[in-house]
């Protein structure tokens, strides 16, 4: 197996083509360095490393001076570098279905090879993921987030903690008893996580520091939200989706750090300057597109360039949407309670919007936006959505959203199909053919005054 994997790694090394998209903002250009630094620091700084799923709890790691490494981010990195395939092959050789999450298959394959060879796998970008002393998964967003990490124990003997984050459906979200019940549970779950971390790290959290980190996180969320909304609404678009697909990284994986806050302040200022001065990303913005759902094809982000060369730009993406501003009452001073309140309150706000739109909202999850909300706000001409063969979390509901769009407008909607990481599910000519036809439809609508 080891030889087979090495041969495969040699083969992928020969990939000659640039597959990433060009970056339009200076902030987006910084992200690659942040990511590389994140993995480098995990290996070199000597801090305890945790492998973590995106859990909306990064602030705890910052406060406890632990180093979170996010295998889902690492999997996306492997995909952009086109080095994910050997890891995927390895996981599938162990019996994991080729429709299980490709983030997970990359992470599991990576760990399997690590276990077999005793070394960080060859070709692991950015020096690999640092060795963890704990793992943290959560049930936020999808089932994979706790199942995958549970499965890591096949290869890595590392204590694992999983916790829940629940949000109520729109129909009952307003009820005080429901609110109390959901917040109480989320708080208990977060407390459980903190206890686990304290035990693993053999130290108690400094509550003043946690408070500072959480409040910094709250400020970061606000800058992030403002930057993204401004980026989506500005005409011409200064901040296309390929940039926002990069710029969510500090919010997801560095929340609570000073660097993350500074990043979004800078991003906002950059977008504002460009918006004020009508500086768009492409010379002539003929069509404003919405990436309406589904994770992006990390393996071929360059497809965005292809679209832009034809006068269209994705002005917003609904896959990674910041939580809206939440005013946390002054009476809530405990930082854990502040974290829970902000997450819950934003879920309630989403629920209220859903109710106004006549939607039920049970399938909404924090971090994903309903395209219906954005088409008017961002002057959208057409919507593209991405079905992912290995992601139920962001794929199910896209047809429903298309139907909801059709009930409210006659905007064209295009479905593309591949996967976020598994390039074997991607057929470039098929995508280009569909995108060309879609752009022709938009052209015809414009000519016809539609």
């Amino acid at each position: 197996m080891k030889e087979r994997v090495e041969r495969k790694l040699e083969a992928v090394q020969e990939v000659p083509k640039k597959t990433s998209a060009r970056k339009w903002t200076e902030s987006a250009k910084k992200v690659r360095g942040l990511v590389a630094n994140m993995y480098l620091r995990a290996v070199t700084e000597g801090k305890p490393v945790a492998w973590v799923m995106f859990t909306l709890a990064n602030e705890l790691f910052v406060a406890l001076d632990a180093f979170p490494v996010y295998p889902e981010n690492y999997a996306a990195l492997c995909a952009t570098k086109r080095v994910g395939e050997p890891f995927i092959d390895r996981a599938e050789a162990d019996g994991f279905s080729n429709v299980t999450c490709s983030y997970a298959r990359i992470g599991l394959g990576y760990s399997a090879i690590w276990q077999e060879t005793g070394e960080i796998p060859l070709m692991a970008p950015d020096g690999g993921m640092g060795k963890p002393i704990m793992m943290v998964g959560s049930a936020l967003v999808c089932d994979t987030r706790y199942k995958w990490f549970q499965t890591f124990s096949r290869y890595l003997d590392v204590p694992y903690y999983a916790f829940d984050i629940v949000s109520p459906p729109a129909e009952t979200a307003h009820r005080p008893d429901v609110r109390e019940q959901y917040m109480k549970y989320n708080l208990e779950q977060l407390k459980g996580l903190l206890s686990f971390m304290e035990e693993r790290l053999e130290k108690k959290v400094d509550w003043d520091k946690l408070d500072e980190v959480v409040r910094r996180g709250e400020e970061t969320y606000r800058w992030w939200f403002d930057a993204y909304m401004l980026g989506g609404s500005a005409v011409p678009c200064p901040f296309p989706a390929e940039d926002s697909f990069r710029c969510f990284v500090p919010a997801f994986f560095m929340m609570g750090e000073v660097e993350a806050l500074e990043f979004y302040k800078d991003l906002y200022q950059e977008i504002k300057y460009k918006a004020d001065n009508k500086i768009g990303s492409i010379p002539e913005e003929k069509y404003r597109l919405l990436w309406g759902g589904g994770l992006p094809p990390w393996h071929t982000m360059g497809i965005m360039d292809y679209v832009e060369e034809r006068g269209a730009v994705f002005v917003f993406q609904a896959a990674y949407v910041p939580m809206p501003h939440v005013d946390i009452p002054d009476r809530i001073t405990n930082p854990l309670e502040r974290m829970v309140y902000s997450r819950y309150a934003s879920a309630i706000m989403r629920a209220e919007i859903d109710k106004k739109l006549g939607l039920f909202g049970a399938c909404n999850v924090i971090g994903h936006g309903n395209p219906v909300l954005f088409v008017d706000q961002f002057k959208i001409d057409g919507v593209v959505m991405h079905w992912l063969r290995s992601c139920r979390g962001t794929t199910i509901g896209q047809v429903y959203q298309k139907r909801l769009l059709e009930e409210r407008s006659d905007l064209p909607v295009l479905f593309l199909e591949s996967d976020m990481c598994d390039v074997r599910d991607y057929f470039e000519e098929d995508w280009k053919m569909k995108l060309n036809a879609f752009l022709e439809t938009l052209e015809a609508r414009k000519k016809g005054g539609g």
């Binding site: 162990d94 019996g95 994991f96 279905s97 429709v99 299980t100 999450c101 997970a104 049930a139 999808c142 089932d143 994979t144 706790y146 199942k147 995958w148 549970q150 499965t151 124990s153 096949r154 003997d157 999983a162 916790f163 829940d164 629940v166 109520p168 459906p169 129909e171 009952t172 008893d177 429901v178 019940q181 959901y182 109480k184 549970y185 208990e188 779950q189 459980g192 939607l359 039920f360 909202g361 049970a362 399938c363 079905w387 992912l388 063969r389 139920r392 979390g393 794929t395 199910i396 509901g397 896209q398 047809v399 429903y400 139907r403 199909e417």
Partner: protein
């Protein structure tokens, strides 16, 4: 002879018939999907619990509402719903059991009209705070059912419902245990028919049917012949076709770990203390669905024993020679567990065959060849 297996067979062949009759008599029929909604609450509210299932018929209308890259079982259930085949169901309880089911909830509610629809949040964890949360969720569900049915669900009513449903589980276990002997007195195909029938009629009628079946099976002389004894593991098998296929290849399916199978009846709901809490304990902690995270603070082996030891115990208790893992594609929580279950059972000395299917059994010929080879390998 008292009506037994034929009763179940008729119900299996026309699952909705009795529910439709009862509805015409003025009863309310409450549909539910998956293993998490407590049927006891439905019974205590004076309604008929009816398990929503799919069909092996081709999916023809769901494509306009649901992606093809998702659980085909859920798609099939939806296809029946959108075609009006669940028009006899007054309401639906829709749990957050997995991504596929959770994310279909809005869509079902939006496009398939029922006079009642309740989404039930089910935590993924099983620690005390999760149990407390789920108990509170059940309390909200209880109140909602009371309002809909116009019936107060008192503790006494709920305790009585738990008692009769436990009786049902006891009878199903007794029936299942008649497969311990070799040859078994009951085939896996017949057992599947019985379980599906049980999920489509009021519990009191179900218990009467089960008593008749047990009496009949104990006395029967025309049971299955000796064959390779198998365990089948998987998610939603709501048709006899696959079980029948295995048995047609020369096996006796003598025990299962299936959603429409032992997960439904293997353990009773506790009867001491708060009935709502007992229901929460049971449906969250005791229904061994891979969607629920069972924390095990010990070693990896202890974790595996905690998660899969009961399957090994089934295999031992029912003296099986091998196991077939039948997984519906896109059922992620099962897909993640499959390599673990496979290795765990193999380490326990059981040969294992893993089949991944799109639920429609269109690959049935391919499966037949693989199952035959698997049985031949065991000699």
């Amino acid at each position: 002879m008292a009506e037994g297996l034929n009763w179940a067979k008729r119900l299996y062949q026309n699952r909705s018939q009795r529910a439709r009759e009862l509805r015409n008599e003025g009863k309310k029929v409450m549909g539910y999907i998956c293993c998490q909604p407590p049927v006891e609450l439905i019974t205590a509210a004076g309604m008929v619990p009816y398990r929503i299932t799919g069909t092996l018929e081709p999916i023809t209308e769901a494509d306009a509402y649901l992606e093809t890259l998702m659980c085909p079982y859920v798609r099939s259930c939806f296809d029946l719903g959108i075609k009006g085949r669940y028009d006899f169901v007054d309401g639906i309880i829709w749990p957050h059991s997995c991504d596929n089911i959770q994310k279909t909830s809005d869509i079902w509610k939006h496009y398939i009209p029922h006079s009642y629809f309740k989404y039930l949040e089910v935590p993924h964890m099983t620690d005390p705070s999760a149990l407390e949360f789920f108990t509170a969720e059940l309390k909200v569900l209880k109140r909602s059912l009371e309002e809909y049915a116009g019936v107060e669900i008192t503790d006494e009513r709920l305790e009585e419902a738990i008692k009769v449903h436990n009786e049902s589980r006891t009878l199903l276990r007794e029936l299942s245990s008649l497969r311990k002997q070799d040859p078994p007195l009951l085939s896996g195909t017949e057992m599947t028919q019985v379980v599906l029938a049980a999920m489509s009629i009021p519990v009191a009628e179900c218990n009467e049917m089960l008593r008749n079946i047990i009496q009949e099976v104990k006395a029967r002389k025309d049971g299955p012949q000796k064959a390779v004894r198998l365990l089948v593991y998987g998610c939603e098998i709501d048709d006899i076709a696959f079980i029948n296929l295995m048995e047609g290849c020369g096996a006796n399916v003598v025990i299962d770990d299936l959603c429409i199978g032992t997960k439904y009846y293997w353990k009773d709901v506790a009867t001491d203390g708060s009935p709502l809490k007992n229901l929460a304990d049971h449906y969250l902690g005791e229904v061994m669905c891979p969607r629920t995270f069972h924390r095990s603070p010990g070693t990896r082996q202890q974790d595996l024993d905690n998660r899969f030891g009961y399957i090994r115990d089934f295999a031992k208790e029912f003296n099986v020679r091998g196991a077939i893992l039948y997984i519906i594609r896109y059922c992620d929580t099962f897909e993640f567990d499959v390599p673990e279950v496979r290795d765990y059972l193999q380490q326990a000395g059981l040969p294992v065959l893993h089949l991944e299917d799109d639920y429609s059994l269109t690959s049935i010929q391919g499966f037949k060849t693989r199952i035959q080879a698997f049985l031949e390998m065991m000699g």
